[in-house]
């Protein structure tokens, strides 16, 4: 009954929903900025923008990988665990220098991504369960390698976390470069188009002879690598490796950013600009509530409401 009435609603409503899905996130960001300019003192300062951007950078990086996975009609719950793993592996191998440590981190992350991808593409396990297993196991492995918080004293790592170029922190630069890179991959490479085709219609992609399994595996590996980058950067900023709490609930923030940014959970479309804006939106929302002494509990409730609205607006689109 509900379905029948929905199909016959006037076009206006469908159009409003479609507009909301595509541009709602930018409108939301703009609205929050305007509201903050009016009500928040010292909002329009370089220092404030810097702080906000540095805080949101890791979320953006993780969300980029998540957007690719969601574009294939999947989801990756293990990103937070990969961040923690990256943190503890960095701590363990930092003695050999930053670069070797980063290489080992990449190997571990790729291993997790490969396991996720193999479970999804070859065994045919649902993405949510496959990555759940790696989420539990990955966080455990991170804690086994490094049971508690450890302070890191490495000048190279420290400058990665807090250094800047012309006043722009490395963190922001890296996030921006990665966002551009991922957007480029989605738009301009064979891989990007194959990814979208697989997410949109897997049977058609298969019959068109696309390397479906290979693409899926690469997507999960890339997602894990991006999460590892975020983990290393967060560790560098903290100047400490904290596998117990680093990346906790990160999968939620990333999925929220992607969904709010207009990428449908049904796959076949990836909106990178929207994903970045989605992460910024959540960050601004949190910051606004905190600045005005509203407790974190409000932030979570507000975030929940934003997710439901975003998914509701995206409902029924994407697949058609």
């Amino acid at each position: 009954m509900a379905e029948a009435t929905l199909e016959t609603v006037p076009l206006d409503r469908a159009r409003v929903l479609q507009w909301l899905q595509t541009y709602g996130v930018y409108a939301g960001v703009a609205l929050l900025v305007v509201v903050n300019i009016v009500i928040t003192p010292h909002f329009l300062t370089a220092e404030n923008f810097r702080t906000q951007a540095v805080q949101v950078a890791p979320v953006i990086i993780v969300a980029l990988g998540m957007a690719l996975v969601i574009g294939t009609e999947g989801v990756d719950l293990s990103v937070g665990a990969v961040m923690a793993l990256a943190a503890s592996v960095t701590a363990l191998y930092l003695g050999y220098g930053l670069l070797p440590a980063l290489l080992v981190v990449a190997v571990f992350a790729a291993g997790i991504g490969l396991a996720n991808g193999a479970l999804v593409a070859f065994v045919g396990v649902q993405p949510i369960v496959a990555t759940l297993a790696l989420m539990v196991g990955g966080r455990g492995l991170a804690l086994v390698l490094l049971p508690q918080l450890e302070d890191l004293r490495n000048p190279a790592l420290a400058s990665l976390g807090s250094g800047d170029v012309l006043g722009v922190p490395y963190l922001i630069l890296i996030a921006a470069v990665l966002a551009l890179l991922v957007a480029f991959v989605v738009r301009r490479t064979t891989f990007g188009r194959q990814l979208l085709a697989i997410g949109d219609s897997r049977p058609a992609a298969q019959l068109a002879g696309l390397p479906v399994r290979r693409v899926l595996i690469v997507v999960y590996v890339v997602c894990a690598l991006l999460a590892a980058v975020a983990g290393v950067l967060a560790t560098a900023r903290l100047q400490a490796s904290d596998p117990t709490s680093l990346g906790n609930l990160m999968e939620l923030s990333a999925i929220t950013a992607v969904v709010v940014g207009g990428t449908p959970l049904t796959g076949g479309r990836v909106n990178i600009a929207g994903t970045v804006a989605g992460a910024v939106l959540i960050q601004l929302l949190t910051a606004t509530l905190i600045k005005h002494d509203l407790p974190p509990s409000w932030t979570q409730i507000a975030q929940a409401a934003v997710i439901v609205c975003a998914v509701y607006a995206a409902r029924g689109r994407g697949k058609r």
């Binding site: 509900a2 379905e3 989801v75 396991a115 479970l119 065994v123 045919g124 396990v125 649902q126 949510i128 369960v129 496959a130 759940l132 297993a133 790696l134 989420m135 539990v136 196991g137 990955g138 966080r139 455990g140 492995l141 991170a142 804690l143 086994v144 049971p147 906790n248 939620l252 999925i255 969904v259 959970l265 407790p295 974190p296 509990s297 409000w298 932030t299 979570q300 409730i301 507000a302 975030q303 929940a304 409401a305 997710i307 439901v308 998914v311 509701y312 409902r315």
Partner: protein
């Protein structure tokens, strides 16, 4: 397998697939083995691990240790019971961890207004969140995982708002009925264990012996066919999410009673433990197949592994997560393969 052959009269349709007789016998046998492994594999592993552990560690098979394990398993088991219903319908409920924490806080807060309030408040509030989950999944047809994800955030926010951002811990007075319910014991077993066993018995009856249980299986097995066969699909879904919310709230309340306070930092990650336990116990994540006893076995297995790792002593407790994760991966791979083999035959 010869039974099937001799039973069949010449003109009758044979029960087995259309493969030639000899092949069918072999196929059916290996299919039975597959089904057996899928349904009772976890139980076998549980028995083996327990036996090995009781020979390896003197302190494992002691009454105290087993009793502690049983009590600490009880709360997760209650959550996993609700999760079983949801997963059998082909859904998932990520909000139970937050609801568990919320339930605990509500029970402790409510205990100042009497036992009845302390018990009813968590059930009503968590049940309401479950109803909302169910309505969004069943009526608005949103993906269960994203709906319950939002509910997870929302419920945690609500819990934090109630406790001055987690700073305030409400206590449950000693000697109250609630405290007795959580901390007391009957016939040598903690009260939460008895409550859990009673709930599982009731859950088993509901799932296997009532029309509602039939509907749960039917919705998970083939939603379209179920609707055609007259099953109230939307109502069934709303009910399972409600049940899951109520049970998570109850588990939280009992846990608070056990700890004598509404601890705010609990419950995070519990949804994953519950899902892992249900899946390890042989319930298919795609829905339509599963049993509450599997959830119980899954929970016990997770807790025994945890206990064994603690007993080894030299091993950090985080190994438990590695083992659980690996175990979950092995189980889903095995399930998928077994399922596919059975499909092919």
């Amino acid at each position: 397998m010869s039974a099937t052959k001799t039973d069949a009269p010449p003109a009758a349709t044979r029960g087995e697939g259309p493969a030639p007789a000899g092949e069918a016998v072999g196929a059916a046998r290996s299919e039975r083995v597959s089904a057996l492994v899928q349904q009772h594999g976890a139980l076998a592993v549980l028995v083996v691990v327990s036996v090995v552990a009781s020979f390896s560690f003197d302190s494992f098979a002691t009454g105290d240790n087993l009793g502690n394990m049983a009590t600490s398993s009880a709360f997760l088991a209650i959550v996993a019971l609700g999760m079983t219903f949801v997963i059998v319908t082909g859904g998932i409920d990520l909000s139970v961890g937050s609801l568990f924490a919320l339930g605990g806080v509500l029970a402790a807060w409510g205990s100042r207004h009497g036992t009845l309030v302390a018990l009813l408040l968590p059930l009503v509030v968590c049940g309401t969140v479950g109803v909302v989950n169910g309505l969004l999944v069943a009526r608005s047809r949103l993906a269960p995982f994203i709906v319950t994800l939002a509910a997870m955030l929302g419920a945690r926010g609500l819990m934090l708002a109630l406790t001055d951002e987690g700073a305030e811990t409400y206590l449950i007075g000693k000697g109250s009925f609630l405290a007795e319910l959580g901390q007391g014991s009957t016939l040598g077993l903690g009260n939460p264990v008895w409550i859990t066993l009673a709930l599982f018995a009731a859950g088993a009856v509901v799932l296997r012996r009532t029309r509602f249980g039939q509907h749960v299986y039917a919705v998970g097995g083939n939603e379209d066919a179920a609707a055609l066969m007259g099953v109230p699909v939307a109502r069934t879904k709303v009910l399972v999410y409600t049940l899951s919310g109520v049970l998570a709230g109850l588990a939280g309340a009992l846990n608070a009673a056990w700890l004598a306070s509404g601890v705010t930092i609990l419950g995070s990650g519990m949804e994953l433990e519950a899902i892992a336990a249900v899946v390890i116990g042989g319930t298919l994540l795609t829905g339509g197949l599963g049993h509450v006893s599997g959830a119980l076995v899954g929970v016990l297995l997770l807790k025994v592994i945890q206990n064994v790792i603690n007993q080894i002593g030299s091993l950090d407790s985080s190994y438990q997560q590695v083992v659980s994760g690996a175990f979950l991966a092995v189980v889903v791979v095995a399930q998928t393969w077994l399922g596919r083999r059975r499909q092919l035959m």
